[in-house]
């Protein structure tokens, strides 16, 4: 009997406490949402002083305030987006701080290098933040611009949960593409190198010079007409009675050239990777 009575008293006290919390919470009037970084004025009633508690994401404030006046929560105290609880004396209230306008973008552009003229090969993912680095969860228009050789491809996507994503084709022309994501005044630039594919064909010529045989290719392009990147290895091979001579030349300014030893009769060939070019039967310069 004693135990039942004790439980009844305890439940009654708990219920009264909860009722009083709800009742007192109604006494503090705060808006449901506040933009991050904007201050908040909380009106109070009564007289004398009380202790203010403000608890939110990364925030815990305790200070003495004067009752009967508006209590100011500064913009510094409300920078982080999320759920906040403010308590003054026995009164309390909750509100949400939401992200402010877009101020910065974290932009992931992938890959660093892509073959030219390939569909859906460049991906851009933008994460939008306000000036306090809160993820902006409200949908925002994000513009993706891909510019190569003054030709721009644009696409606008609405962000979802603070993230916007776009996939774009690489352009037909090789070169460093400027990939820009922008929203409002914020924009970020990345560089995606659009590169030519393997050579479509290689054609070389040979001529005698004072050191032997000078071999030189014509301008080397891929099958879309883009010049194969400088620095690509082109191997010249001359085979004659003295053995095999090879030079791994580099394409420079679109062509590759090398010096081969003088020979009375040699077979000269050229290749780059898996692409084999023409063959020359050298008869001592004739």
């Amino acid at each position: 009997m004693t135990r039942i009575r004790f439980h009844s008293y305890f439940a009654l006290i708990l219920a009264l406490a909860m009722f009083s919390t709800v009742a007192f919470a109604a006494d503090l009037r705060v808006p449901a949402t506040v933009a991050a970084g904007s201050g908040l004025s909380v009106p109070t009633s009564g007289s004398g002083s009380a202790t203010l508690y403000l608890v939110g994401p990364g925030t815990a404030v305790k200070r003495q305030v004067q009752l009967g006046q508006d209590v100011q929560l500064s913009s510094d105290e409300l920078q982080n987006a999320g759920h906040y609880t403010v308590a003054i004396g026995d009164d309390s209230a909750s509100f949400y701080v939401t992200a402010g306008p877009v101020s910065s973008i974290a932009f992931l552009a992938r890959p660093s290098r892509v073959p030219a003229a390939t569909p859906n090969v460049i991906s851009g993912t933008a994460f939008i933040f306000d000036k306090y680095q809160n993820l902006v969860l409200q949908p925002q228009p994000i513009k993706f611009d891909l510019t190569v050789n003054d030709q721009t491809t644009s696409r606008t996507e609405a962000s979802k949960g603070g993230v916007a994503y776009a996939k774009l084709d690489s352009s037909k022309k090789e070169g460093p593409a400027q990939f820009v994501a922008s929203s409002g005044n914020a924009s970020v630039r990345r560089v995606v190198q659009q590169v030519a594919s393997d050579p479509c064909s290689i054609r070389m010529t040979a001529q005698p010079n004072k050191s032997g045989i000078l071999v030189r290719t014509d301008s080397i392009h891929d099958c879309a007409g883009n010049p194969v990147p400088d620095g690509t290895i082109v191997t010249f091979t001359a085979t004659d009675a003295q053995g095999k001579s090879t030079v791994d030349a580099r394409i420079k300014q679109g062509i590759a050239q090398a010096q081969l030893p003088a020979s009375g009769g040699a077979t000269i060939s050229v290749a780059s990777g898996v692409v084999v070019g023409n063959e020359i039967q050298w008869r001592g310069g004739q």
Partner: protein
């Protein structure tokens, strides 16, 4: 008796000090062809080129400076970073007045032992045997301007102030295009080729893990210097990974690990490999010989030759390498030779030679 002992000790001390300070060249004229060659290289070993030159025949056309440069190296070549460790001599034939002596030399270098064989003619001058040191034709490039259109790649990495979205440029895409595990006695050798398929240069290395029949790891090794580490776009390098004391019969699986890293690089110098042919050397061994030609305008200090051998199906069956102890001056051919085992030579159908280069004070 009491006075005799100190006198004996003093005399002995003087004799020993005198013996220690005497120069052998001043004391030991060569009385045999082999002795002349041995004495010459004994002085070279002690870096006493003046003393060594005392054993060189006056009838030869080598001066002392050229002789010293021939033995100590020049132009920052590998020879300049080496010292003679061993000189074994063998008389090939001899008469009263002249002989032919083979000197097998072993140098200690920064990249391991380096072997050289020289057949030296030794002649009798008066009562002494002297070595006819072959005059080395030192290549001198005439003053000229060699026009170079240098090409290099620089890499801008993400900075400390960049946001987390600004990630570094991706490493070049590389691929192992062939791989072959070869038993060699109680050793397992992994040979193959790796290609930089990308359009940017990369620093590459290849690692291999041998897995035993019980699934355990038998060994892990890398290609170390048996590879061209810097690969330009579309460049192919051979690699060789040695597993000493691991029999291939115990290996169930080989796990290959190609690694690449984006690095700044230069497209120069271009080195031609001329007149490649497989021959038999003076000792009857198969060697792949040829000449290296630096087609650029800067001196290449230490060339490193990598040779890939293929069978008639195009499979890589062996990779050998060798350093050249001469620097490559611009436009000047330098001979090279790399070993090829007789067992392999029978199966070699084709080969490819590539050259690594180490250049000091490059201004690119």
């Amino acid at each position: 008796m009491k006075r005799l002992l100190p006198i004996v000790i003093i005399v002995l001390t003087v004799v020993l000090v005198a013996m220690a300070t005497m120069q052998p060249s001043e004391l030991s004229p060569a009385t045999s062809p082999e002795g002349a060659v041995q004495s010459l290289f004994a002085h070279v070993k002690a870096h006493d080129y003046k003393g060594a030159f005392a054993y060189v025949a006056k009838s030869g056309d080598t001066d002392e400076q050229a002789f010293a440069r021939d033995l100590s190296g020049r132009d920052g070549s590998l020879r300049t970073y080496s010292s003679l460790q061993e000189a074994d001599t063998k008389v090939l034939h001899s008469s009263d007045n002249e002989a032919l002596v083979r000197a097998s030399l072993e140098y200690a270098t920064a990249v391991g032992a380096f072997y050289d064989t020289r057949d030296l003619k030794v002649v009798k001058e008066g009562s002494e045997w002297k070595v006819e040191w072959p005059a080395t034709k030192e290549a001198n490039v005439p003053p000229q301007v060699i026009q170079e259109n240098y090409l290099r790649w620089d890499v801008i990495a993400r900075g400390a102030n960049d946001d987390w979205g600004a990630q570094n440029v991706e490493a070049p895409r590389v691929r192992i295009i062939s791989m072959n595990a070869i038993p060699q006695g109680n050793n397992t050798i992994i040979v193959g080729e790796i290609e930089n398929e990308d359009t940017v240069p990369g620093f590459v290395s290849v690692g291999a893990t041998l897995i035993g029949k019980d699934g355990g790891v038998l060994g892990e090794e890398t290609s170390f210097d048996k590879i061209s580490h810097t690969l330009l776009p579309k460049e192919i390098s051979p690699f060789r990974i040695d597993f000493p004391n691991v029999a291939l019969s115990k290996v169930k699986n080989v796990r290959m690990q190609p690694n690449s890293m984006l690095v700044p690089a230069s497209a120069d110098p271009v080195i031609g490999v001329l007149h490649q042919r497989v021959e038999t050397d003076a000792r009857g061994r198969h060697v792949l010989k040829g000449e290296l030609l630096n087609e650029s305008g800067q001196t290449v200090n230490i060339p490193h030759v990598l040779a890939t051998y293929y069978d008639n199906s195009g499979k890589v069956i062996w990779v050998s390498d060798g350093y050249v102890d001469q620097a490559l001056l611009p436009q000047t051919p330098v001979p090279f030779a790399v070993d090829l085992s007789d067992k392999m030579a029978a199966n070699v159908h084709n080969y490819r030679v590539t050259v690594n280069e180490y250049t000091m004070n490059r201004e690119d």
